[in-house]
């Protein structure tokens, strides 16, 4: 049930939380360099990757996201000194918990992307979208009240 | 499935008047341009905006107004802030009327009436006062005591000065809490003013305002010789259903939304004082 998409036109919906200082600028750089990354990725800018409340991730799945990726500065490079160290611990535990509840572990990911890594941002997104496309639609945390029809 | 109480209808806000800095009056009609439903003075309606909230608001206009209903609303919470920010033409959801309303055609008939209001507490009384004015011959003398924090906080000031003060056999007493420039009327709190004016106990009193004001006004009236059975008030409680089922406006064996909001102090005396 989970693994098949209902119709031919299905495209994965990906939410990317990007930290303002590194990853969002990385995405920007990809843009200014005219590098293509899949349009399935919807970026939400956050001040720091550690601003991301676990509820943000659950809400994304509730509203029909098929995958959630968090991008932050490389460890050691956080604009706020230690934010991404906390992200690293929290998200490791949260993803493990989601996996424990049956939300496939491939649907969540953390990547470190610096402001200079426009190409890396594109590669990461390409890879993630490919992975989610293979997995198919995520129904396990979807809230039926949020369906379009 | 028959239409019923809990499904709201769509109303259109046709006019918005700024009464005071934090009170606006909203005129509401149905999508067909006609008044949505008939009501008794003192009854309320549930106004809501999808996704924002729903609140019980007393109907400010008199039932004798045949074209529309009006609601004077103070900006205090999430929903009321939203309402204050909207523009005419906006549709909102409305259901009602709820509550018992004032006994205008029974207890009040033929009596001298004393209305005492503070701040936005005028809103529910406004409906009765205009109803009584429209059926002037059915009632005796009318006194209105209305007080607010300051002059600009007096709701419906223009209407009072232009219409109520000119009505035959009707006196309007205004007061504000603190002295201010451009105000030559009375200054002082409503309960004290009511005492000073020394109203005759032949009148039936109707109070609405903040709980502290109601409390002290009642004490003052009792000193003047009023009995609890001739003093009425209209209550406020959190409400959700409006039809006496959801449980939150329960006081003793009464539900404010269904058995109230209008009670005489006689009736309230028999209930636990948890309101």
């Amino acid at each position: 049930m989970q693994m098949t998409s209902d119709n031919e036109t299905w495209e994965p919906k990906i939410i990317a939380f990007c930290c303002n200082w590194c990853s969002y600028s990385g995405a920007d750089l990809a843009g200014t360099n005219r590098l293509n990354y899949p349009a399935n990725v919807k970026i939400i800018r956050v001040p720091c990757s550690c601003r991301i409340n676990p509820m943000f991730i659950l809400r994304a799945f509730q509203r029909g996201a098929d995958g959630v990726i968090i991008c932050g500065c490389h460890p050691g490079d956080c604009h706020y000194m230690t934010g991404n160290y906390h992200t690293r611990r929290r998200m490791t535990l949260l993803f493990s918990m989601l996996d424990y509840l049956g939300i496939e572990k491939e649907r969540t990911r953390v990547e470190w992307v610096s402001a200079a890594e426009g190409q890396r941002f594109v590669d990461v997104m390409d890879d993630f979208v490919g992975q989610i496309t293979k997995l198919g639609r995520c129904r396990r945390l979807e809230d039926l009240r949020c369906r379009t029809n | 499935m028959r239409n019923e109480e809990l499904i709201p209808r769509v109303g259109v806000v046709t006019q918005i008047r700024q009464e005071t800095p934090d009170v606006k009056t909203f005129r509401v009609v149905g999508t067909d341009g006609k008044k949505l439903f008939e009501h008794i003075p003192g009854q309320c309606a549930m106004l809501s905006v999808p996704g924002v909230g729903e609140a019980m608001i007393s109907i400010t206009s008199s039932p004798t107004v045949e074209e529309y209903m009006e609601f004077s609303i103070k900006k205090v919470g999430v929903l009321t802030s939203w309402l204050h920010a909207m523009e005419p033409g906006q549709e909102i959801l409305i259901r009602g009327p709820y509550g018992n309303g004032f006994p205008v055609d029974t207890t009040f008939k033929g009596r001298d009436l004393l209305f005492i209001a503070g701040g936005i507490g005028l809103a529910p009384l406004h409906s009765v006062i205009n109803y009584v004015r429209a059926k002037r011959d059915n009632y005796g003398h009318i006194d209105v005591v209305y007080g607010s924090r300051s002059k600009e906080d007096l709701v419906d000031l223009a209407e009072m000065q232009n219409e109520w003060m000119n009505e035959k056999d009707m006196n309007v007493y205004l007061t504000i809490d603190r002295e201010e420039q451009g105000w030559d009327g009375h200054v002082g709190f409503v309960p004290n003013y009511v005492q000073e004016l020394n109203f005759p106990t032949s009148e039936t009193a109707i109070i609405c305002g903040p709980p502290v004001m109601i409390h002290f006004t009642l004490q003052g009236l009792q000193k003047l010789g009023f009995t609890n059975s001739q003093v009425f008030t209209t209550m406020e409680m959190r409400m959700k259903c409006g039809i006496g089922k959801c449980g939150r406006c329960n006081i003793g064996d009464k539900y404010v939304c269904k058995d109230g909001p209008v009670f005489s102090f006689d009736e309230l005396g028999e209930l636990p004082d948890e309101y």
Binding site: R63, D143, R145, C146, R147, T148 | M1, R2, E4, E5, L6, I7, P8, R9, V10, S48, P50, G51, V52, G53, E54, V76, G77, T80, E87, G89, Q90, E91, I92, L93, E236, M237, R238, K240, C241, I243, G244, K245, C246, G247, R248, C249, N250, G252, D253, E270, P272, E274, Y275
Partner: protein
């Protein structure tokens, strides 16, 4: 007229009913968990005393969608997506839960009628199930409920591997008549009546041995204000954790909330169970009249034991099912409150 059927034919009986209309029976999901579920061949009826959730869920579900709204510019569209319910049968409801329907009816079917409730209620046929092994937490007899002879549209006893069936209301009798009881080797005779009488006597004798047998609620309708101001509430409510377990497992608690959910493509208005034990229950922009757990705790029990009886000719809003006795995290239950009220009243009279 009582019909007896061998107990091993129960699955056939259930199958026959399920062929007529949708059928719900209590099912044991595990040793600890029994719930009402739609019948399917192979499902075995639970003989536990109480299901985890009370049967009020059928008429007054935990969450009930009410209407949908679509907003576009300044326009709002109201979509009432309700449909008339189909007839259905709830089989195996205990005497206490059956009484709870009467109590809920007096709230939801009072003028103005709650049509969401009415829609589910009027299409239900209730076949009750007499208790053969009441527990020490049961005190339905305190409220005049006979566990050995439950009400409902029809009732069932199970004793000595025999099922006894009796129609009560027109609706219940009509349902039983539609069944092919002959195919179940059913017998309707005097012996069935005698057996049932003996079974009732047996259960009544057991009840007399229970510690709560002598528990009787006092008629406090005249003493509303005295009890309201009694000092007992402070001591009792001090221990309360303020969770809503008691209200949600209670078959007669009927408070609800109405909320909107914005799904992004329209707003769904729903109602859901709510609890007077929560501090936001009466919260208004200007504050709440029930400021501490004392007021909230008092409200719940005053409502059940005083306010509701005043409004409903002395009928209490408790059926003695014992769920709150078993489920309260700290065992601060209605029996303790009733006893405290009683002691308090005795102190009053002495003074």
């Amino acid at each position: 007229m009582i019909t007896r059927i061998s107990a091993d034919r129960l699955p056939d009986l259930l199958r026959q009913i399920s062929e007529l209309e949708k059928l719900y029976i209590p099912v044991d999901k595990s040793e600890k968990i029994s719930v009402f579920e739609e019948y399917a061949p192979g499902k075995v009826m639970s003989t536990k005393l109480n299901t985890l959730r009370s049967a009020k869920d059928f008429f007054f579900p935990q969450v009930q969608p009410m209407a949908k709204f679509r907003m576009e510019g300044k326009k709002i569209e109201v979509i009432d997506s309700r449909t008339e319910a189909q007839d259905y049968c709830i089989f195996g409801v205990r005497a206490c839960d059956v009484r709870s329907f009467d109590i809920l009816d007096r709230v939801f079917l009072a003028d103005p009628v709650d049509t969401y409730y009415e829609n589910r209620r009027k299409h239900a046929t209730i076949i009750s199930f007499a208790c053969s092994e009441p527990s020490e937490t049961c005190f339905c007899h305190s409220f005049g409920i006979d566990a050995a002879k439950p009400a409902g549209d029809a009732r069932m006893w199970m004793a000595n591997d025999i099922i006894y069936l009796e129609g009560i209301s027109e609706k219940g009798k009509a349902l039983l008549e539609k069944l092919d009881l002959a195919a179940l080797d059913a017998v309707t005779d005097e012996k069935a009546e005698r057996d049932v009488e003996a079974e009732e006597r047996r259960v009544h004798e057991i009840q007399q041995k229970m510690p709560l047998y002598r528990l009787t609620p006092a008629d406090n309708r005249e003493k509303e204000l005295a009890i309201f101001h009694s000092p007992i509430w402070k001591e009792l409510s001090d221990k309360c954790l303020g969770c809503g377990s008691c209200t949600f497992v209670c078959p007669t608690c009927q408070c609800f909330d109405i909320e909107d959910f914005d799904g992004g493509h329209g707003v769904e208005r729903y109602r859901c169970w709510d609890s007077c034990m929560y501090k936001d229950f009466t919260m208004m922009a200007a504050g709440t009249p029930r400021k501490t757990q004392l007021e909230r705790f008092r409200q719940r029990f005053m409502h059940k034991l005083v306010y509701y009886p005043i409004r409903n000719d002395g009928m209490y809003s408790c059926v003695g099912c014992g769920r709150c006795l078993r489920r309260c995290p700290i065992h601060m239950n209605i029996v303790k409150v009733m006893k405290a009220m009683e002691e308090d009243a005795q102190c009053e009279t002495k003074n």
